[in-house]
Symmetry: C2
Subunit: 464 residues, 2 copies
Amino acid sequence: MTDHLSPVLDRIDAELPAALERLMALLRIPSISTDPAYAAECERAADLLVADLASMGVSATKRPTDGHPMVVGHLRGRGPHLLFYGHYDVQPVDPLELWHRDPFDPAIEDAPAGRVIRGRGAADDKGQLMTFVEACRAWLAVHGELPVSVTFFLEGEEESGSPSLVPFLRDNAAEVTADLALICDTGMFDPQTPAITTMLRGLLGEEVTIHGAEKDLHSGLFGGAAMNPARVLARILAELHDDQGRITVPGFYDGVPEIGDDMRAQWDGLGFDPSAFLGSVGLAKPAGEAGRSALEMLWSRPTCEINGMWSGYTGAGFKTVLPARASAKVSFRLVGDQDPLAIRESFRAFVRARLPVDCRAEFAPHGASAASVMATDHPGFEAAREALSDEWPRPAAFVGGGGSIPIAGHFKTILGMDSMLIGFGRDDDQIHSPNEKYDLESFHKGTRSWARILDAVARAAPTG
Amino acid sequence: MTDHLSPVLDRIDAELPAALERLMALLRIPSISTDPAYAAECERAADLLVADLASMGVSATKRPTDGHPMVVGHLRGRGPHLLFYGHYDVQPVDPLELWHRDPFDPAIEDAPAGRVIRGRGAADDKGQLMTFVEACRAWLAVHGELPVSVTFFLEGEEESGSPSLVPFLRDNAAEVTADLALICDTGMFDPQTPAITTMLRGLLGEEVTIHGAEKDLHSGLFGGAAMNPARVLARILAELHDDQGRITVPGFYDGVPEIGDDMRAQWDGLGFDPSAFLGSVGLAKPAGEAGRSALEMLWSRPTCEINGMWSGYTGAGFKTVLPARASAKVSFRLVGDQDPLAIRESFRAFVRARLPVDCRAEFAPHGASAASVMATDHPGFEAAREALSDEWPRPAAFVGGGGSIPIAGHFKTILGMDSMLIGFGRDDDQIHSPNEKYDLESFHKGTRSWARILDAVARAAPTG
């Protein structure tokens, strides 16, 4: 079998300085999607990507939406058809004073664990998406074609809730449906161990406000006789978990699967150290359901968390107010076949059932997405795992992801397309925070990884 | 027996317009004690009172403290020696936009239930303290002397925690100790029924913060495995009451007395309507301990209330943060011989006993005052009750007060002096709120009430 891969990897090594220059140009554009003041910058980022893809011979266009544009490009090659997804928009940079350099004046810096690319979007997601673009560029430079067909699909609203995504997928289903999607917006298991994320938790957000009296009362005048909504809310929130850490909302565990023996054995083999993971943020003991491993708590078990709560007087000093209302933001991470809308209704009934006389509850919904569980029996998964294992010190792992990436669910439900989530981020990349970085090694070996994956998927495909 | 009283009451009626003018002059001074920007205004208010007392023949002086000055004046008459306490400072006026007139441009306005004096401090406490001053002025004008000896003791820091009060009482104990203190900073039972407040609840304030991880965490990355301090706090707050509404802090009920049969019979006779009381703020059902009457809940039973709580993200929208900390302000209203410092320690132990691994609690104290229970066997109490009953449509009641007026406790513990709390405020006076008012009737009949009380106490005194 001819070795098509080695010259591509050599080309990537030789092109690294030029590839970094191209990434820096993209990082210099403050494409903050959530702030309308930066709309023109999002357009500029899309234009740059169109030009970048065109320079490789990809016919790409900027496609308008009601929000920021999509960039879509096609490159017909041989073999299976892959769709590649990344996003060119970035998070806001506040608090700016905590950055040690201008977030949009990126640079290569020396850091304790090696050289890093510092700047907003370096990891999330400009650096990641460019690993795939650069892998394709190298293949095209060496061989004049890819071993697969690729559709590039780059979004500009991922950090602001992707309002245009579902309509766009619906309107352009034929154009953007492929055999398999590649999504590059996740991380490594650890710096030595690449990962393919095969399960992503869903997310249900609810805001609940308990109302009592018409106005705040003086706790001396009314205290003891008037119902205090803060006390009612505290009790409701306290009852969401039992003393084994299980969530008590009726029907909550409907559709929660146990992970298979294969997956469990693989996770056990990862050598995950809960003490080190929790120790990094000053904690010691996994706090989830009794009898579950920390990786289960993080990847395959559903959760219920209080993300915010407030009531009464919260300033300096003391005010003997009896609050008129108390509020909480509560979110549920969902797994398997848990139905977010059914759980929303059950949660609301749970709250209402616990309201005393003189209290009423008001609810506001904040998003509801089901979990994504990838069908790892597609031959691309095993091929990609082997390709990643060839590039990195340790074998690649199939892992779960605690967070939620709704795009994989949309690809499945709207286009019927499975997704393979592969990325090279690290836990300390500070995404969404000041001083975001992407390791130079993530960028370089990430690009090499994609070159290997393109080769491996092409070989594994039944039609390849 | 010569009727000394009637000409005094006539004089008060005739002097009402002039008395109102003197009150208006005091109300025009923005003596907001908590804001250092108004320190000079507090001095001006003290100066005005010194001049006002001097105009009646009272030798009064402004006495410096580390904060705002005290005004102390003496008028030696015959009979028992009474100390009169009031305060000339006022609450801030925020939110100013909710006032329908300048809070420091007072006026007489027509209101649905009669004419009112509108302005900051009208009820709390300038209008109240002037009822006593004007009663003395009328006695002096008619008779040239009072039937009792009076020491005026007017404070300028009541609305900002009275930091100078205890040192001043200690340093000037001999000068300000009398046979009995009169405190005019409370209200009527209802507009027809005057009241002598014979029990005041104490107040213990605590702020507790539960700390978890070193920083806020992403609930996708850490949720399920990292302990959430908001959940811990909610559970602790929920456990402060049992399902009968009793407070579960160990030892909390030590020193809580049952009220006597006399008092219970009197309270039952007041015709208090809990539905109307709670209905005025949109509530229906007394929410305190099972088996207790609403008046007990308000006057003679201790409470535990959440005055504020906050954790995590509380802004618009949703942020899937796992908070690093959660805080609450909790206050306890205390009765009888409950020991605030012992309860503080027990509360803190209660919290610490409920902390899981990875959480710690931090506490900040916010005041600790014991309850005041007046010794109603002093002959002045019955004399004052009869005098009040002569002035108003319904007989005067001995009532409890849900709020806390620490001054009575300080008079007792530092000076060994009992206090009689009599005032003419109404529930709708909007003290501490926009559009504060004092009914013209409160001012006029309040002044007449004090004239009657001076006469009655003088007659009742063993030495009178």
